[in-house]
């Protein structure tokens, strides 16, 4: 069977192929998925580093900044500490939203291309 014959006729120009494992692994779509996943992860990790280590280095190198008052007695450090914790959660949530909206549908689509 030729490669052309192996591919089912296309719909809207999109090859709805029944791919072998090897073909799927080699396909640009799959490679793009993997590289996208790691780019997103690394960017998020970097943001996490900045939010946490930024806070810690601020504490270590410039404690006076955190000691500044923003209320009658409340120091800047208090909301910043809380923000640091919240940032960690927000980053996690952003990743999940991305994964649900963008990663999972693509995974399902690619799995659908596999020869059963």
């Amino acid at each position: 069977m030729t490669d052309a014959a192996r591919n089912v006729s296309t719909i809207k120009g999109e090859p709805r192929a029944h791919k072998s494992v090897h073909e799927l692994l080699e396909s640009p779509d799959f490679k793009r998925l993997v590289s996208k996943r790691w780019s997103v992860s690394l960017v998020m990790l970097l943001l996490l580093f900045v939010s946490y280590y930024g806070y810690i280095l601020l504490v270590g190198l410039s404690p006076a900044t955190l000691a500044q008052k923003i209320g009658d007695v409340t120091t800047l450090g208090i909301p910043l500490g809380i923000a640091s914790i919240l940032a960690a959660w927000v980053l996690t949530a952003v990743y999940v939203v991305w994964a649900n909206r963008s990663y999972d549908p693509e995974v399902e689509r690619l799995k659908g291309q596999l020869k059963s």
């Binding site: 494992v21 990790l45 280095l57 007695v73 450090g77 919240l86 996690t92 990743y95 994964a99």
Partner: protein, 535 residues
């Protein structure tokens, strides 16, 4: 100096206790009816659950992974429960009570591992493994050497953490209920063994879930009651703190001074989580990678909430109970939370909090025992000794025997280390986890050229550098072994030992290329990223 060891040391340390005000009293330290009542209630409920779980625990999949029947939110609670230990709860609120803002700084570090876990390994871990993290490390490599190395790293991590928990448990129970240390150890050992032996992962998961809910509820209630005394305004609370102890209670104190030390600790907390076997094991209890991902989100939410509200309880304790009285009851400040609970809502609430703290200990030690047992029964017995061919009965039987052995060890070591300053053990746990387990795990997932000997080298180098550096550091060499000066200048070796482990993995892999492993890497991608063929 900022380190888990320093904090626990601070909490368990002998300091001058100032004279307490004559009018204050507490029922802490004496068994009271509410405390005993709640304690028995919690143990009874958890044992009923164990009985129910036991009827559902026949196969290895059920024993190790709860039959993969845990939902995302349930696992979120279980993960949070496993992570929010009694030391966290009592220790951090105590630290905020006695030291103010420094306690808040310390609290922030505990959450940051969870996003990292999500971004780097949660989904691949679930897709590639079956019951333990060693499954993933050894996935395309030669089983025997990798399994043995991973078991060493895993067991050491679990063991150090278990000792810290068991010793902490004994002291806490003695403080709260007035029980003898040894009896406390035996009770903890017996009850948690019941959970694991008869109910496996199903029971331990549900015990964790219940405990997490109770803990979050209890701490939330404390926060609300504290704020109610200050017109529900945190600003008023902080004003009261400043009025009583000065503005510096709201400013960074001496906790974070050395940037290298601080970054090293941060690395250990962040990446150590990714190497804790008892946490990683929980990822196999959910059906698939998507559920694993969701459960991390839930867990991060619960844990983040916990660490945000704990300082309010701590500050409330410092104002309402007073630092003097807190240190009179326990020099380390561990009793700040129970004391403020008693003040806010009387002995019943104190009893509830004490029982929840006890449940916390039981649940965590149960999880650790399961993880420790599985390192032998699943990684060594099934995969090395039996080369992957063990019947269900053999697997479950091995798991149960390993559980009993590990449980007995836990009790014995707890008794052996009585009175020792085991604060460094928590630091050790995270340092070993981030150096021995995490690098090999990550490299195995993402790097094509990772080889068997690379993995082994990474784990062994990570293990021995982290342990060696901690032994030679202030916390062990000077404080425990009584030498004049530390040989290794930092309390946290993470930045060095983790780097060394990555380097070792990289160099040794390049020096010992394994064509088979490289071929499998490509094929494995289908499973890693799409979940095809995941168990």
């Amino acid at each position: 100096m900022l380190s888990p060891g320093a904090v626990m040391q601070f909490l368990l340390t002998q300091t001058q206790a100032p004279a307490a005000s004559a009018a204050q009293e507490t029922s802490l330290g004496h068994p009271t009816a509410p405390a005993i009542g709640f304690f028995f209630l919690i143990v009874a409920v958890t044992l009923v659950i164990t009985y129910w779980a036991a009827k559902r625990t026949k196969t290895s999949k059920e024993f190790y992974a709860a039959g993969r029947s845990v939902s995302a939110i349930q696992n979120g609670f279980a993960l949070a429960g496993d992570y929010m230990s009694a030391a966290s709860f009592l220790g951090i609120s105590g630290m905020v009570a006695l030291k103010g803002y420094d306690g808040m700084i310390y609290a922030t570090g505990w959450l940051v591992g969870w996003p990292a876990l999500m971004f780097l390994i949660a989904e691949p871990l679930r897709n590639l493994g079956k019951f333990t993290f060693a499954d993933v490390v050894a996935f395309r490599l030669r089983q025997r050497p990798v399994r043995i190395a991973a078991a060493i790293g895993g067991v050491l991590t679990v063991l150090t953490y278990t000792i810290a928990q068991m010793v902490g448990a004994g002291s806490l129970i003695k403080l709260m209920f007035g029980l003898h240390y040894e009896y406390a150890e035996i009770i903890v050992g017996a009850v948690m063994l019941a959970y694991v032996l008869f109910g496996g992962m199903i029971a331990t998961s549900w015990v964790q879930i219940i405990k997490a809910v109770l803990l979050l509820f209890g701490v939330s209630l404390m926060m609300i009651l504290v704020l109610s005394r200050f017109g529900f305004s945190p600003g008023n609370l902080y004003e009261a703190v400043a009025a009583k102890y000065g503005q510096k209670a709201l400013e960074p104190g001496g906790l974070v001074t050395n940037p290298v030390e601080a970054v090293s600790l941060g690395l250990a907390l962040m990446f150590g989580l990714l190497g804790l076997p008892h946490i990683l094991m929980r990822f196999y209890t959910v059906p698939d990678a998507k559920a694993a991902r969701k459960s991390v989100l839930y867990a991060t939410g619960f844990i983040g909430y916990f660490y945000i509200i704990i300082p309010i309880v701590g500050f409330g304790a410092s104002v309402l109970v007073g630092r003097d009285f807190i240190t009179k009851i326990d020099k380390g400040g561990n009793m700040a939370s129970p004391l403020v609970a008693e003040l806010l809502a009387g002995t019943p609430f104190l009893g509830f909090i004490a029982a929840v703290a006890f449940a916390t200990i039981l649940a965590v030690v149960a999880g650790l025992t399961l993880a420790g047992a599985s390192a032998y029964s699943h990684d060594i017995y099934v995969n090395v000794i039996k080369k992957g061919h063990a019947t269900e009965e053999e697997q479950v039987k091995a798991a149960k025997i390993a559980t009993v052995v590990f449980g007995l060890f836990a009790v014995l070591l707890g008794i052996l280390f009585k009175g020792q300053n085991v604060a460094y053990m928590v630091g050790l746990t995270f340092a070993v986890a981030c150096s021995a387990n995490f690098p090999a795990l990550l490299l195995s997932i993402i790097w094509k050229r990772m080889t068997t000997w690379g993995a082994v080298a990474s784990i062994l180098v990570g293990t021995f550098t982290s342990i060696g550096m901690i032994v030679l550091s202030q916390t062990v060499w000077v404080d425990v072994l009584k030498n004049p000066a530390p040989i290794f200048p930092f309390k946290n070796p993470a930045i060095f030992s983790m780097t060394a482990a990555f380097l070792a993995g990289w160099l040794v892999s390049l020096a010992t290329p394994e064509a088979e492993a490289q071929d499998k890497f490509e094929d494995e991608k289908l499973r890693t990223y799409l979940g095809v063929g995941a168990e």
